[in-house]
């Protein structure tokens, strides 16, 4: 067995034979008899290549999306560049050279200009120009460029791949991609990502005699194993099968609703911790964000975060996910999440202490900075604001009053905010669950935080491992509080979701559906497995 390492572009595993992709070699004759004829050949080739680039744009748009396809549109425009075309024409008319030679020289010069630039993005553009040069030469020399891939599915190994080569590849014959060169800025890398193709670049130890050998590309560990051991084959095949299962689930369920056999539809949202998780929300096809923990803006900062920095973070999430509903929970620090610059006193009993909304309502300026940032960001998408650790009606009213105060301030400053913001509270204390009827009058939604609700209901510290034998995550008292909350919410037209860990517990999904829950918000990876369960439940039959 041989092992080669590289830099992974896409996770995932490819198993199969290696096929070494050889770049075409161009044999060019310099001299030409008739400059007029060469000019005509050049022009014809240029138009033909433009046509090809347009076809590649269409193909990439379909297979990989707008972001990846854009480069071919740019290629079309580069072929219209006066400087480039004039330089090539000069070579034909004044130096009396062939169209092939003119294309080679003219494009190479521009590629050289990009290669010498400082910025890696612009350096990587030299590969685009070389790609166009090769396309010109292929047309001028009448090369067949379609048969470079072999006939059976394989892991393709190449020095480097031009964007056009990557798009032209027959995906049904492509298991994975390994290149000796390449950068993570290259369009090949971008395309590989959007096609979700296991890919390694900068794999320096590629050898020519690998052609046809059996190999495994392990994108998770950035390795290529040539003629791997049986153990490795078994374990990586198992991992690959797991990936395939997940992918199949995604293919099967993406875009479908969370509807039971008898026709009840609920929403399945994702819980996220920051803008970095946006990708996971989209990949797992969550319908929205049911809990955006805003703590990250406080925890990732060495000082109290400004209104502007918060605004940027909220805006990014709302804008990217628009028109999906994004529920942002206001600051929930204290208890197990402490921050130096907040100067919080050490407490005997932090879970029952000075935390979350209790901090916000006593440090009003701090709270208002977040609310103003949220209001300003609200015009970029569909925002929900959720207040944590509520125990009383008075607190909810106070939160809403402060929010109104922020709205008035912004209006006076001429700053706009959305008129369509949903307001909700976490139900995570027994007090809130028991007073749910009164609280429901004040808000658009409830979200059950089952972790704290369980801890407070059962008086079991969730961080104390010794209490494990006493703990029951499905304690009937907690389930009854959940049911009471859902019923109370519905009496007042308030929708009720669950954003705690119980929401993702597949053994409770049917129970929650029968209780009438409107939304479950879970970690992004659980969205589709949960959808699968919901789609298999039939509420018209009695619970099994």
């Amino acid at each position: 067995m041989q092992v080669a390492t590289g830099i992974k572009i896409v996770n995932g595993i490819a198993i199969g034979k290696l096929h070494i992709f050889k770049a075409p070699v161009y044999e060019i004759s310099e001299a030409a008899a008739d400059p007029i004829e060469e000019l005509a050949r050049f022009e014809q080739a240029r138009l033909k290549v433009q046509e090809q680039q347009h076809a590649l744009y269409e193909k990439a748009l379909k297979e990989a999306g707008e972001d990846s396809a854009g480069i071919f549109e740019a290629h079309e425009m580069m072929l219209d560049d006066d400087d480039l075309i004039d330089a090539c024409k000069m070579i034909m008319t004044e130096q009396k050279k062939s169209a092939e030679y003119a294309a080679k020289e003219g494009f190479d010069n521009v590629a050289e200009m990009f290669r010498e630039m400082d910025d890696p993005y612009f350096q990587a553009r030299s590969a685009d120009i070389i790609d166009l040069k090769n396309a010109m030469l292929d047309v001028l020399l009448g090369n067949d460029t379609d048969s470079l891939q072999g006939t059976e599915p394989s892991i393709l190994v190449a020095e480097d791949l031009a964007p056009s080569e990557t798009v032209k590849l027959d995906k049904s014959l492509l298991l994975g991609l390994v290149t000796r060169e390449g950068s993570s800025n290259s369009h090949t890398a971008i395309l590989a990502r959007s096609m979700n193709l296991p890919t390694l670049i900068q794999c320096k130890s590629i050898e020519d005699d690998w052609e046809g050998k059996f190999a495994i590309l392990d994108g998770y560990n950035s390795c290529l194993y040539i003629e791997p051991t049986q153990d490795l084959i078994d374990s990586l095949t198992a991992r690959r099968n797991e990936d395939l299962k997940k992918e199949a689930l995604l293919q099967e369920l993406k875009g479908k609703t969370n509807t039971t056999v008898d026709g009840k539809t609920i929403r399945v949202f994702a819980n996220i911790g920051g803008p970095a998780d946006i990708g996971a929300v989209q990949q797992n096809d969550a319908e929205g964000v049911g809990l955006f923990r805003s703590e990250f803006v406080y925890l990732n900062s060495s000082e109290d975060p400004s209104e502007d920095s918060q605004f940027q973070a909220y805006k990014r999430v709302l804008e990217t996910l628009s028109p999906k509903l994004v529920i942002i929970r206001t600051c929930d620090i204290g208890a197990d999440k402490t921050i130096d610059y907040m100067n919080l006193d050490k407490e005997e009993n932090p879970a029952l202490g000075y935390r979350a909304i209790r901090i916000c309502l006593t440090r009003k300026d701090f709270f208002k900075r977040q609310l103003r940032a949220l209001l300003r960001a609200s015009v970029y998408g569909k925002l929900g604001i959720m207040f944590p650790m509520i125990i009383s009606l008075r607190e909810v009213r106070e939160c809403k009053e402060i929010l109104e105060e922020c709205k008035r301030e912004l209006a006076n400053e001429g700053v706009s905010y959305s008129k369509d913001i949903e307001i909700g509270i976490m139900i995570e204390t027994p007090a809130a669950a028991l007073c749910a009827d009164e609280l429901a009058e004040e808000v658009d939604f409830f979200s059950l935080g089952t972790n704290d609700l369980t801890q407070y209901t059962c008086a079991i510290d969730r961080q104390n491992a010794k209490l494990e034998p006493f703990s029951d995550t499905h304690h009937p008292a907690v389930l009854r509080l959940i049911q009471m909350t859902i019923e109370a919410g519905h009496r007042h037209g308030t929708w009720v979701g669950i954003c705690g860990e119980l929401g993702a517990d597949p053994t409770l999904t049917e129970t929650f559906l029968r209780m009438g829950v409107d939304e479950l918000s879970v970690n992004p990876k659980s969205v589709l497995p949960l959808r699968k369960i919901i789609r298999s439940v039939d509420l018209s039959k009695s619970q099994s």
Binding site: F114, M117, D119
Partner: protein, 86 residues
Amino acid sequence: MKEFKFTVTDPVGIHARPAGLLVKAVKEHASTVMIENKDGKAADAKKLLALMGLGIKQGDEITVKVDGADEDAAAAAIEAFLKENL
């Protein structure tokens, strides 16, 4: 001649595609449009590769000079384009 400054906010700078669209937008006007990077190097905004050759990155302030019969309309249109796309 009309002249204005603009600071690029696009994370990649004036990269291939927006540069191509900018060239397209500029070509709709008769005026000559020159773009100068922060080092004072200038390029004709009707020429894509020269424009990309300026290597303009996020945060760079560029100077746009518009000269010709339709310079008022051209300058306004280009400024609007830059604000929206870069």
